[in-house]
Symmetry: D2
């Protein structure tokens, strides 16, 4: 079998995760080049994994006719431009989320991808998480019945640096975007958003024009309702849960923990807190989303998470932002799409 | 010790619960009369528990100078009037929730109670539930830290009869009222309410002008936020949970179940669903609230749940109703108080 | 309906429990007399519950022709003699466990009961515990399949006073006797016993000729095997669990706890330890066993836990004792029966 | 850094597991040869992982002066001989369990290893399992206090083929050997063993001279007691649990499951059964034990699981076998050591 030739653009934390998934777990593909504007990072990763080429300039990857697919793992502000170029170069694309913080640029990517006829998968990895995928399976199997209420808990162990907060687009575009995608994954299209938001974690976040604690109420087109609960800092760690209520029953995903040990003494029963953060909690999902992407490219299947999903999650984020600014429920149709 | 002499007005389901609590568990009090407009009910309860007097007309209870305290367990529409009369008669009052469906009548009760200098405790029994009381204890002890988010899950196993729905005042006054009180119990005063509501369980409920599935987003005066999730029918039973997130940690109350047995075979691991409904789930809390009421009267302490708590829970219900009608967040200050 | 007239012999802790069960929860019966060698105890209980007669001498109860059933709740050394006298007096008998510490005296009770044709129920209350009864139900329903292994965990929060240890007959007759009955309840007759025993909790228990930590391996007549794990002091409280493994699956009962609250902070996830001791954990079972006894008498049904069950549990205790003394497996057939 | 050169003898299931651990997760080592008497297996693994050499004859690995360490993953009957040869060839050794089914041959390995001064680590992978390692950590930290009782549950989802059963040495040498090592890992040296054993799963296992369901009671030298519960087939899957009771508290490890999802409907609450079998449950431990072995060799540390541990686990198995045959407790000192 001929292996799919892959290039990775961006050798940071998430680029390394995907590079290892392909090298260790996906025999149908091989990485033949990696680039990073910080070339030492590219070199280090290339050496560690035996990747034959490394570059500073990602164009060398796009220009390599051998390379069939690229993974865009660079900083968010570069995603859309590189994706357009990659599409023009005829490469299939795996693009980290968010595609961009503006609707306009995502639509350019949609156009470029459609025109080139290449595949694009967005890195909404949580759809591949063992727990959430199982709930989706239960829903698809009709076990839950007609969906009534969807509740998403998504709290980080600690806030990002203030410098990052300032360029992040705000909590709804940066953090909730994953939860909006989860809401759509389980409940379908959303019609309306209402957000309560506050600064409870760190006043500096407020001074930076952002919020750190939020509740987003959702109305789905199906008639179902939902809520997303976010916080930039949960003292007890990374809290990633989902509850789905329907006419037949309710499915819920608890957090994953390092061990299943409990210890009980005169002070009570104690057990582990959740796995520390997304690299620990979602490692399995990163491998599975990459396996899925390679499979879609190799076997010419449609990707399950497209740039359209990236667009809709962004629009929900923009609607939530508008809801806070205008202190009212905002219909998704009010957001350019 | 001289026992406190109690009269019970209303010998229905909840009247019977309180009568048994006093007879079996509260040695400081004794029931010396019971009334019910359906006198056979009063007679049956009197015989079962050895209560010396039973009447059709509750005025006989109010007129009995020996009786020091009354429990108002009649239908909701009679609560306020009887409470006013009881206050005028100098009786201490335990009144089932809701006091009334209008602010005006509750304010009359407040006036009457203040004027007469009698005690009044509202039957917000959930404050006495072992699980919720433990969370309150953790909050008071500073374990949770500064409160950030409060999430209340409150779903019934089955909707009431349509005839009842029509006179109930709607889900927010009838069902959510308990959850509004829980929100205030844990989080203090609420400033603003936004409600999403829909008919997912039974179209007849919609035809009766009510909703059966709702999410109420809350803003507390403290800056904390919250959400109440209601449904008139959960296929899996009575779902009564609470999660409280704060700067130091998170406390959550799971449902109580009939047994702690799990059975595992090749199809998976199975265990009990929640206790069936409020009589099963909250029996301990009914006994404890009554113990507390008797203690307040006998030892001249202020009651922990006053008619003011009844008023505020009603106002929150009215605000939620208005929020649905006007499709916007509603400040509590917009509601007459 | 004519109520069953009951007399209670022994107004100590367990006598009070049964007295309250009948007074508050069993309308088919009424207590008309209570006796205690410490007459103040009998008087106090009589006054609290409105029992019309109290005596120092239990013969006054046996001599009262109105009394149809007696509860023997006096000290263990008096159980057998009183049971024989009660049988001769034609009273139905509820007798606390153990009936006696010798086979000979229990056989006298069997003879007396058979001769008189009265009913006798032994206070093996754990058969009525909601968790263990549910496992029995699963076993009877065939869910577990052919039983393979039965594991009983039974650990006390603290050892009894040394003075009591000295007259208790030792851990196997005093504490394990309940577990032997549970083993028989679930697994049927036992054929052989092997016990490992040691002193880990308190050297004084060893000096008193007893052990405080033990493991008893069981062979059932059915071919199944089992183990009982005892300790006189578990630092974390009263540990009462059961696991039953069969060809189709496994059922297990976890401990009951005061609340279902969990609290999680940066140090981990914590929840309640088990309910403190037998009065807290088994209160429901005490009420249910008494309800069952009254029902058997009133409706002339055979009792579910007979003096024969008391005999067999004692013989298993004696076999375990012999196993430790002789350091070998002991067949139940080696014990006089 | 110079990578440690490793050769793998045996390219079966467990050989493949270790080969992947080294290739994907252990940068300090590289596999330069693999052998298998079924050479196609060696070839396939070599190609998959880019191992430069593959052989039918393992002597080619022992003869390669470049190779510093070998992993013995061949069939059990060859372990001891190959280990002796490897030691003589000056190779460090990772040897799968059991080393051998006879004391005599293990002692030869001990002699060979001591003489050659090479390291040997036995594949008792469960010591590296996240759950059991955490319990060990709690014990070492003094949280559990003085150990009183150790309970090991170890049940397989299905029995091996009868052909394998016949050459396996019996359940105690083949299956319980892991549990004996766990008992020693947690509780230290064992003094005496008593085993109850029966055929409950498959009569063919009995006809093959083996048993399929067993309970082994243990006395530790420390005075603690313990029990191991084995079954060749648990209908609900691979049951691998541990409970450790001490003077300060109790630690217990629950099973790992594929997801943390629970689903509740009118029939009850359901969740996953355990991960299917050892490859699923213990994959993390296989990687961690290999990481540890490579670290011991590279950094010249003593291995944590030596051939002596293999010997003692075997002797405990032989003692359990003798206990069943002679129907009595057997001291470990009765077994040649």
């Amino acid at each position: 079998m001929q292996k799919l030739k892959v290039g990775i653009i961006g050798a940071g934390r998430i680029g390394q995760v995907h590079a290892k998934s392909i090298t260790y777990h996906i025999p149908q593909a091989e990485i033949i080049a990696v680039s990073d504007i910080y070339i030492e990072g590219a070199k280090k990763l290339a050496e560690e994994l035996g990747i034959p080429n490394y570059y500073q300039d990602y164009h060398k990857i796009l220009d390599d006719p051998e390379i069939q697919a690229v993974l865009i793992c660079s900083s968010t502000d570069t995603h859309a431009d590189i994706a357009c170029e990659a599409a023009q170069a005829g490469k299939h694309i795996f693009c980290e989320k968010p595609v961009d913080l503006t609707v306009a640029k995502i639509k350019k990517v949609i156009d470029a991808v459609n025109k080139a006829g290449v595949k694009l998968q967005i890195g909404f990895n949580r759809r591949y998480d063992h727990n959430f995928a199982e709930i989706k399976r239960l829903a698809n199997a009709g076990k839950i019945g007609r969906l009534q209420t969807i509740k998403i808990t998504s709290r980080d162990p600690e806030p990002p640096a203030i410098a990052y907060v300032k360029v992040s687009g705000g909590i709804f575009l940066d953090m909730t975007v994953h939860d909006f995608d989860m809401a759509r994954f389980i409940g379908g299209e959303v019609e309306e958003v209402y957000a309560n938001a506050t600064v409870m974690v760190d006043p500096e976040i407020g001074e930076a024009g952002d919020v750190d604690t939020a509740l987003v109420a959702l109305k789905f087109k199906s008639g179902a309702i939902g809520v997303i609960d976010n916080c930039r800092r949960a003292a007890y760690g990374y809290d990633q849960r989902l509850e789905v209520f329907g006419s037949n029953g309710q499915a819920s995903a608890a957090n994953d923990t390092p061990t299943n040990v409990s210890f009980i003494d005169e002070t009570g029963n104690s057990s582990d807190k959740p796995l520390y953060f997304f690299l620990e909690r979602y490692m399995q999902s990163f491998t599975d989303e990459m396996t899925q992407f390679i499979d879609c490219v190799v076997n010419d299947k449609p990707t399950r998470t497209t740039v359209y999903d990236g667009l809709e999650a962004l629009r929900l984020g923009l609607a939530a932002k508008k809801s806070v600014e205008e202190h009212r429920p905002v219909k998704l149709s009010e957001i350019e799409g």
